[in-house]
């Protein structure tokens, strides 16, 4: 089996390497990928068309926002998938199982430190979400940070405490609402008579001109992403760390 695997892996590697012979050199600014009209368009026109200087965010949340919508859905699927796989609702005594982990959280030092830094983490996370079009950042990054802050809280104060703030039920609502914001915003464009996710359609209800409408819409969409990511990150942690035996039901 091992030899077999090794041969297969080597064949795959050799094939992939054989193709690199006619690849452009690394860092080549004239490689087809880098000088193609598509990427030139992104670099040259983005700011003009969307008023967003961060091209990555613009591409993510506007040009390829359809992709990103599904990306958010992927996260959502992972979240509910983990619950669906792990949780045993009809188990013999699912509700009465005592939490086996020592769920007391960290020591005094850890708690104290965390209570100090958690607000900053969260504020920074919100900043990352909100400032995504001007600086590196966006819904995913900010969402992960926010999720991490809750995980940190769970580590420091114990999962049950963290759950009191962010219960399973609430995570699910947050996750679904996040996607709801994203998709709903796209549908709103439909209702205004343009294509799905064509933010220009929302010009009448947003301040600024049609281009600003794109910029604003990106923010809203990113907020939706952040909702989902935050909720699912925390839900993933809490489910995996307790092997699906969360005592407090949804």
């Amino acid at each position: 089996m091992k030899i077999f695997g090794l041969i297969a892996v080597l064949v795959v590697g050799a094939l992939l390497l054989s193709a690199t012979s006619d690849f452009p050199d690394w860092r080549d600014k004239d490689s087809p990928a880098n000088e193609s009209p598509v990427s030139s368009f992104y670099i040259e026109k983005t700011e003009k068309l969307t008023k967003v200087p961060n091209m990555v965010t613009a591409v993510l949340a506007d040009y390829r926002s359809y992709d990103t919508m599904f990306e958010t859905v992927v996260i959502f699927i992972a979240g509910i998938g983990i619950i669906a796989v792990l949780r045993n609702f009809d188990g013999p005594n699912s509700s009465s199982i005592k939490r086996e982990n020592n769920d007391e959280g960290g020591g005094l030092l850890a708690r104290f430190t965390c209570s100090l830094i958690l607000p900053f983490i969260q504020i920074f996370a919100l900043y990352v979400v909100a400032h995504g079009h001007h600086s590196p950042g966006g819904g995913f990054q900010g969402g992960v940070m926010l999720g991490a802050s809750y995980i940190l809280a769970a580590l420091a104060f114990g999962l049950s405490k963290a759950k009191d703030i962010f219960s399973e039920r609430r995570t699910m609502i947050f996750a679904a609402v996040g996607i709801f914001i994203y998709v709903g915003w796209g549908v709103l464009c439909l209702l205004f008579g343009k294509e799905f996710l064509n933010y220009e359609a929302l010009d009448p209800i947003l301040p600024g001109d049609a281009k600003m409408a794109r910029s604003h819409s990106m923010l809203i969409v990113e907020i939706g992403v952040a909702f989902t990511v935050t909720a699912i990150m925390f839900s993933m942690y809490s489910n995996l760390s307790t092997r699906g035996r969360l005592s407090k039901g949804l």
Partner: protein, 155 residues
């Protein structure tokens, strides 16, 4: 060193070393996924495998002397650059033209953001599944699991 090998390295590996690194990483991951007996090790292989691909994509978008793909509002650096490079253009256009060589290709970054998310989700789900396996079989070694399945024959 043998001159043949040296020229090979010189001509093939050095200009494309990013591809070599990604392929080697990918092979490590793939090998682990195929041959490892422990389910978690397989997942570690999977993570390496996916990361290798991310590395590959990101390295595609790199340009010499280019910056992150965020148009900078501060300083007049790029305006000056474009002023020099396209003097004949009308003034209105000068103001809006952006030198695309100054910025890295944004598309691979976006794609990989998606790929990372997919990777995280897959890993999380796979961990959940392996927890379920552990719960019902009491082990994460593949051969032991198969042994447990064999005598009963049904489940």
């Amino acid at each position: 060193m043998d001159p043949i090998i040296a020229t090979f390295i010189e001509e093939n590996i050095v200009p494309n070393f990013n591809y070599w690194i990604y392929v080697i990483l990918m092979m490590i991951g793939l090998y682990a996924m195929i041959t490892k007996n422990n389910l978690i090790k397989k997942l570690i292989g999977m993570a390496i495998f996916q990361t290798a691909i991310i590395l590959f994509y990101v390295s595609v978008g790199v340009k010499d002397a280019a910056n992150i793909p965020i148009i900078s509002h501060h300083g007049s650096e790029h305006h000056q650059m474009t002023d020099l490079s396209s003097e004949t253009d009308s003034t209105k256009e000068i103001h809006n033209t952006i030198d695309k060589d100054k910025y890295a290709n944004p598309l691979p970054h976006v794609l990989m953001l998606t790929a990372i998310v997919v990777g995280v989700s897959t890993l999380g789900l796979a961990l959940a599944i392996s927890q379920k396996i552990y719960k019902s079989f009491g082990t994460l070694e593949e051969d032991e699991i198969l042994n447990k399945l064999r005598p009963g024959g049904h489940d």
